[in-house]
Point group: C2
Chain length 243, copies 2
DNA sequence: CAAATTTATTTGTATTGACAACTTTACCAA
DNA sequence: TTGGTAAAGTTGTCAATACAAATAAATTTG
């Protein structure tokens, strides 16, 4: 089972094993996993090593500990999709509403200019835009800029029907390490009014987002224009970042 | 210095001591703190206890470790204030703009009713409201609801000039473990228009926020109405949550 | 003097052991 | 049957010890 000669430390291997048991349903949400002493006996490890493994999973939000009682599996938390709508489209799908996202501008490399807030100003970046409809009504317009070197070759991939965060993680091994976002009320110009089916001059929620990757201060910059008369822009906060 | 008979565990006391040394500048950003063995000798503690203290500070983003080299103080990161404006007021202070926050409604216990999105609906909760001015112009109106049991006795504390997150942490040992927020465009009614010095019917950014504490699904619910014509509502994302 | 090697230092992993603090279960008396 | 107490079980804190892996400093060699 656990291999002391492998380069991966034992506590890590155990965390992965327990994580797999959670994922497979062997340790169901709400259930209590074996005690630290039991796990130590079962795996032939010391209790501090068990605790290190469990500490990891607790920090990832998979488990919680109750002193005197045991260690319990938490309900799965929805992972925040920072590339787009966050929890919003998932909650709409739960309600059975049709969510449809279509590319407006296919992804291509361009030189960004005259956009002071865009971190790629004066440089090349990949750009694409898309429109999301909710039960047929356009509700979200997005423009995304991707770091040219980090996402080298992405224009050859098919973006339709794929989550950009999945692509970033699976193809480029990239996970955002943090970022910044801003919110303001923007007034719809003629183009955006047409795309979002509102009157010119209507207020739209304008969101800008800067995503940081570990070695890159800004790897993704996105701008979203939302019709909050049609839906509520919701977002999960933090998760485990404040424990 | 450290008191083994105090109810606070030694690793916690040490973390606080090191944290205070960082804050006072004794351990400057970029500098290396004493080694784990040195700290153990200096405080008469075992190394695992030292490591527990340092682990805490590393997770809070104050320190970083380099194997074979030592433990270093990180540049201060702006801590997200989830109780209010996030990074926004700090960035305004940096620009030398006067930020003034005043209580409108003093904190008191009330029974919440007829507010479907308020998690305290049908229950008692502490409530207070405040107005923030930027260079004299009202820009942010807030209403905050606090869990009656979690914040027992808070009405006796002076809230003026104190950050609610500092109070929550120092007085109640509470840190949010996560939460949810929503954004939409609201239309200013007469009251809000007066308070925020806009015309009735003007669009305002309406933010709702639900903060979770470890044993309490919702400990703090807040509603904010922001004039984004006067400032940009910005927010740091995640930080260490995705590492 | 520069490069290579060795030594010292420091963090990373892992162990056995002990006691404290809290929760749960079992048992007994009213 | 209910309430109180004791025992058992479990996590939380803390220790001493040991070796591995990486980095930094010192020493040696060309």
């Amino acid at each position: 089972m656990l291999n002391p000669n492998a380069p991966i430390p034992l506590y890590r291997q155990l965390a992965d094993l327990i994580s797999a048991r959670i994922r497979s349903g062997e340790y169901a949400p709400g259930s209590r996993i074996p005690s630290e002493h039991q796990l130590a006996a079962a795996h032939g490890l010391g209790r501090p090593t068990i605790r290190q493994a469990l500490d990891m999973l607790i920090r990832k939000g998979l488990l919680t500990r109750r002193r005197g009682s045991g260690t319990y599996v938490l309900e799965p938390q929805q992972e925040v999709d920072l590339f787009s709508l966050d929890g919003t489209s998932a909650s709409f799908r739960k309600k059975g509403l049709a969510v449809e996202t279509r590319l407006l501008t296919p992804i291509h490399l361009l030189r960004v200019s005259g956009a002071a807030e865009n971190p790629f100003d004066g440089q090349q970046a990949y750009f694409f835009s898309r429109l999301t409809r909710l039960a047929g009504t356009p509700v979200l317009l997005e423009g995304l800029y991707l770091h040219a070197q980090l996402f080298d070759g992405i224009q050859h991939l098919d973006l339709e029907g794929r989550s950009l965060s999945a692509i970033a993680e699976e193809k480029y091994y990239l996970r955002p390490s943090g970022g910044k976002q801003s919110f303001r009320i923007a007034i719809a110009d003629a183009d955006k009014a047409t795309l979002l089916a509102v009157s010119p001059g209507s207020p739209l929620l304008a969101v800008q987002r800067w995503l940081t990757f570990s070695q890159t201060p800004c790897g993704v910059f996105s701008e979203l224009w939302c019709r909050t008369d049609q839906f509520v822009f919701t977002q999960t906060i933090g998760g485990t970042g404040y424990a």
